[in-house]
Symmetry: C2
Subunit: 432 residues, 2 copies
Amino acid sequence: MIPAELIKRKRDGLSLPREDLKQFIQDYVNGTVTDYQMAALLMAIYFNGMTDDELFSLVEIMLNSGERMDFSHLDSYVADKHSTGGVGDKVSIILGPLLAAAGLAIPMISGRSLGHTGGTLDKLETIPGFQVDVSLAEFKRLVETVGIAMIGQTSEICPADKKMYALRDVTGTVESIPLICGSIMSKKIAEGIRGLVLDVKVGNGAFMKNYHDAQRLGNMLQRVGRAFDVTTDVVYTSMNQPLGRTAGLWCEVNEAIEALKGDGPEDLLTVTFELGARLLMQAGKGNNRDEAIDLQKELIRSGKAYETFLNMVAAQHGRPDEVERHASLHQPRHKTAVQANRSGTITKMDTYHIGLATVELGSGRKKTTDRLDPTAGIEFLRKIGDEVQTGETLFYCFNSDQRKLQSALRILEETVTIEDSPANHRLILSKA
Amino acid sequence: MIPAELIKRKRDGLSLPREDLKQFIQDYVNGTVTDYQMAALLMAIYFNGMTDDELFSLVEIMLNSGERMDFSHLDSYVADKHSTGGVGDKVSIILGPLLAAAGLAIPMISGRSLGHTGGTLDKLETIPGFQVDVSLAEFKRLVETVGIAMIGQTSEICPADKKMYALRDVTGTVESIPLICGSIMSKKIAEGIRGLVLDVKVGNGAFMKNYHDAQRLGNMLQRVGRAFDVTTDVVYTSMNQPLGRTAGLWCEVNEAIEALKGDGPEDLLTVTFELGARLLMQAGKGNNRDEAIDLQKELIRSGKAYETFLNMVAAQHGRPDEVERHASLHQPRHKTAVQANRSGTITKMDTYHIGLATVELGSGRKKTTDRLDPTAGIEFLRKIGDEVQTGETLFYCFNSDQRKLQSALRILEETVTIEDSPANHRLILSKA
């Protein structure tokens, strides 16, 4: 395998022999193939894609580059949920404990905020004391005893992916469907799960702007799942507006807690239950979707889901007493209301710019060294389909840094479209 | 200018702001932009091309990265010739001295063998004592006194190009028309020339396989020439068979000497005179093509062209006495004749594989550390259009390494097509 020749093959749209690609990636991990050769290959992949065979090789090498967890000794159905990223998406924080309460084992490795989208880890870390940096041995013990643990990526899981992702980030090669797919699936498969449900976000606040691209990704994710014996369901949900009532850090955790205590907004619960139903059915809990959704409602009503959440918090060194006073925690120093400048129906929300505004407020990072502001976020009083009057408050914008607040408000200008025509919005697009 | 953002713009087919591209390349030269970011940009350029404005910026930065020669104090017309590379192409060795004999000043910086194509420097170095590594000050003095010097690329001329070319070589990004164009033109413009003629090779032994691609390159080269005030003519010539009687190292120098002494093969002289005529007309020597061609014939007939060649050899520490006994120099230890296996007309020659066979014989390098064999080469007795009988010798293959000779003969199998139909071959395709 001559690296430059392999790059040329991909550049010219030819398929790569399995063993050659493996060699290239392995040599990259051990340093024989250089960063610049991998960067050139990644850009060629961006343009010419990957065959399934190439993608499976990529996933296999990423898996073999590190530890692969094993939960086969457990009776519980071991599963995870993953979202391709959005604004206001706090589903994991609700669904993880909910599924653990249903008897599933959930070894969830999550990510940080990325671009305009929020990150589960950054949100969880606003819980006083909560630790997401946990050794794999401890992670395993938590899953076995509490039924769930939510941690950050460790250097033991798919180090090849970590190295490649860092390179993609600085070489303009993040937005490649097969590379995104390989990165997601290798990390999930390494968790040792039997089942997986993927929330593929589609819309103006998602990485996939249209259903066609989302489906390409979704189908590819399922083919990888099948190749590695992980039962994989996909739900396509809209990211044409933020999910739920809030987008930010603590405000989202607070909303997730409210949802676990029985007071979640409808759209957030719909997505949560839809995803949860897929895994419950995989696990043989509930004969059909309706039963699986009812089971989840009951686990919230009974308090079991919230109890499991508190157990998880305690197990990961968080303080349940602080969680209990959630409504008064992390109060922002500054808060501004933004009003409707005309009457009509909200027909569109520019979710990408709303996401960028949350980053500007302090909920995300523009560079890796940026410090986050747990008090920062946006609360939406009105969303698509709602009728509003001139002067009525559309959303609150808040944080503890006046300058950043002003700059976020400028980004938020004209992100909400009010028209006379009725709105057209569908939350669950399809399932596979 | 954020490097990853600039890469993404090119990746997405958007044009790059002039200042941003300049910054990126300058930062690459000084090490702030990394090899892997440049590799990703180069691959994106491979797929999405460059605008003229981007290309001019690239050339400008390459020029500014090193020394730029100045011959404006000379009365002579300062000019150069460049070929995009072929098999058996020894035109520079004839045309350089010929034009110097006509009173032009020729500061020629040439290259080494590349892929399947020969390199002028490697050929010149088979002249006993001949030095191609010459300081820029010495180079200048030689051009001023002898009228010509033929040297290798120095680290003072376009170091940015050198750095980028080395990266392209190992990242599968050599074959990009704008990058090829930028690399050629920056080095030629740095020579301080007023005029340039480009021999753009087209055919199965050239980098450009078809006339359409060749024209894209030729037009681009001319636009860059115009932008930097270098009068630039282009001649498109066929590389569907080797040029002249030989391909290799010393055998090509020997053929060039024979041509300078009045015994050159017709196709070689046709290309040489066609290119020479363009520069002579640029310089105001000869009122039209016919006059310019006659002038060249006269300079050969009178011995002035060969005399200038000997002067150049002597000035660059070569030994004119060795040149004088050229026919007996560098005799190969092994020589094999290859015969026609049927009667008919030669209709095709697979020039790419013939070029690869010369590399295998020892006339070119497969890796930079390979040692060349001055005795190696191929002599063609018959070429396209010739009628041959079964058993008649088509070419001789020779060198001083029996094993390599055998392996070259295997590459040469079926490189000559003999058919009953007449052949169709045109040498000069067009001029611009």
